[in-house]
């Protein structure tokens, strides 16, 4: 663990929440494809279930989308009944993507030293490649 550092997820991925009934899906997308394997190892369905423990998920499934450097998490029964039944303000669970993004993973120091700004630059480079 000496060669690793703790990194907040929002530095590594972006995410969007969607709802259907009492089920939430979280699209989690790597800024930097280089982080995909590390996240695949650490951001397991079990880990996401633990992050959402206070919402008592009955089932969490992770679908992998390596071509998009993305994961799709599906969490059952975490919306307190969903938009029609929840007593909460955000029955859709739209803000729950940021509950995930507030969590952390441990990354290799070298990988972690690629700061968010660098990653954005890398993305911009690949974009001009695609245009060429």
């Amino acid at each position: 663990m000496n060669d690793t550092v703790e990194v907040p997820l929002y530095r590594l991925v972006h995410a969007r929440a969607g709802d259907k009934g009492n089920r939430l899906n979280l699209a989690v997308i790597c800024y930097d494809p280089a982080c995909y394997p590390a996240l695949a190892a650490q951001l397991t369905a079990e880990r996401v279930a633990a992050i959402f423990a206070s919402r008592r998920p009955t089932k969490v499934v992770r679908y992998d989308l390596p071509k998009l450097h993305a994961f799709n998490f599906v969490l059952d029964d975490v919306l307190e009944g969903g938009v029609n039944a929840s007593l909460g303000l955000d029955g859709h669970g739209k803000g729950l993507s940021f509950l995930l993004l507030g969590s952390t993973v441990r990354l290799d120091k070298a990988l972690a030293s690629r700061k968010l700004a660098d990653v954005v630059e890398i993305a911009a480079d690949s974009r001009s490649d695609a245009q060429a």
Partner: protein
């Protein structure tokens, strides 16, 4: 219709803009799309997706109150600014803004077209999604999936099945300038125009999947062009106040490019498109629609120009045997009451207010389950049992306490609202800004309906047509 053209490669690219992704979306989003579409040639369409899961039930309640209403309340605001340009420029409009009353919406649009100088505009109405008279409560209950809300045979407010793209294509084939629908699969709003344009076979699953994918990317409007995306300093979006809504360019083989009108805010890149690609998806290998089962696990995105993303790799497998219907029932009442605390020790005063109301409600309405949030400390990520709020050590200078409860009858809910208002005098120091309300609730169930029970119809507004 262009179906007689022989060679697939000879067919022009279809352009589909989406000017609304939900019922309360920006009403001026269509203007830049139509400006762009008018500069282009070929088959061009403008779609509106304005029908969330509950929206239709609310529209049905509205229709019962006034039989002339029950369509999207913003219909005129959405369409009036662009209708003349669309009719003059050959841009067809397709929208599910008919909600619970597509015919009344069609008549409103016919009147609007006439006023704008287009008395012979052809306005088609797609019906047959409303199953409330077609099946009995027992028959719905027998078809419920993923729950048992209908087991007690509650009175049904609305029961609508998701129709597919075929009736939309039929309406366009028959010369419609505008197609008004109620409940249809959201991506079907885009697939219908593509079936009409390219004449894809009903079992050409790969192309149907491509059209459905285009529809899925379009159906939430700006959510693919920078809406629901911005996180300042982390992933910025230029021009949030002038977001360009999406335009998809789709060729006869199902090739897709997502872009947006020139001169608008927002962004279209791998990131915005990936977020929308996975939005409300469960198994990425099997996204069920009335028209096809779409698989997106092999989808690849390429940024091919500024605000242009090419989307390839959609997989299609045969459509589901059954159609999904959403059945809405009355679910009682929701009470919400709020009060604010600010300044030093605000968090402690807010927590004391919660404790005070909880103790009193436990004595006065012991069976009522009451939720408390402390907005500013823990609310959105909290839970109804309050475990996340209890565990939070967060402090703040400005906290809004919110209580919520639901019941079938008003009495305990009014009691809760009065207890919160009583905090003005009998609560912690400095509590202010009480707001309290009681609103009706709806619950929805999903049913799987055999296709032979569903009979979509296409008709035109005005008997002479």
């Amino acid at each position: 219709m262009i179906r007689s053209v022989a060679g697939v490669s000879d067919l022009p690219t279809a352009l589909i803009g989406c000017a609304a992704g939900f019922a309360a979306d920006r009403t001026d989003a269509g203007i830049p799309i139509v400006r762009t579409l008018r500069e282009r040639q070929g088959p061009r369409f403008l779609i509106y997706e304005t029908l969330g899961e509950r929206t239709l039930a609310l529209s049905q309640i509205e229709r019962r109150r006034d039989p002339a209403r029950g369509y999207n309340p913003s219909l005129a605001r959405f369409v009036e600014p662009i209708l003349g340009d669309c009719l003059a420029g050959g841009i067809k409009i397709v929208g599910n803004f008919g909600a619970a009353n597509p015919r009344a919406a069609g008549e409103l649009l016919a009147g609007m077209a006439k006023r704008l100088g287009f008395p012979s505009a052809r306005i088609a109405v797609v019906e047959g999604d409303d199953l409330s008279a077609a099946l009995s409560p027992d028959e719905f209950a027998a078809r419920e999936t993923g729950g048992a809300l209908l087991g007690a045979r509650p009175p049904i407010i609305a029961a609508n099945v998701y129709l597919g793209a075929a009736p939309i294509a039929e309406a366009l084939d028959r010369g419609a300038d505008i197609v008004v629908t109620g409940r249809v699969g959201d991506p079907s709003l885009a697939l219908g125009p593509l079936l009409h344009t390219f004449g894809w076979a009903p079992d050409d699953w790969r192309r149907l999947a491509c059209g459905t994918l285009a529809g899925h990317l379009l159906e939430c409007g700006s959510q693919v062009t920078g809406g629901y995306f911005a996180d300042p300093g982390i992933k910025d979006v230029p021009g949030m106040d002038t977001l360009g809504y999406p335009i998809a360019e789709i060729d006869a083989d199902g090739g897709i490019v997502i872009t947006k009108p020139e001169g608008t805010g927002g962004r279209v890149d791998r990131r915005t498109v990936t977020e929308q690609l996975l939005y409300e998806i469960h198994d990425p290998a099997a996204y069920l629609t009335p028209d096809v089962v779409l698989g997106i696990t092999e989808v690849e995105l390429a940024e091919i120009g500024p605000d242009r993303v090419r989307v390839t790799g959609a997989r299609g497998t045969p459509r589901p045997e059954t159609l999904k219907a959403t059945v809405c029932i009355d679910s009682g009442l929701l009470a919400e009451a709020e009060i604010s605390y600010a300044g030093p020790n605000a968090a402690a005063r807010a927590r004391l207010a919660i404790e005070t109301v909880r103790k009193r409600m436990a004595r006065r309405a012991p069976t009522l389950r009451t939720r408390a949030d402390a907005i500013g400390l823990m609310s959105i990520h909290g839970d109804t049992d309050g475990t996340a709020l209890d565990a939070s050590t967060q402090t703040a200078m400005d906290v809004r306490v919110r209580f919520a409860a639901e019941a079938m009858e008003r009495e305990p809910l009014e009691l809760l609202n009065l207890e919160v208002e009583a905090l003005y005098c009998a609560g912690p120091a400095g509590g202010g800004g009480v707001r309290a309300r009681i609103t009706p609730r709806l619950a929805s169930a999903s049913c799987l309906i055999e296709r032979e029970l569903v009979h979509p119809t296409v008709s035109f507004v005005g008997a002479e047509r």
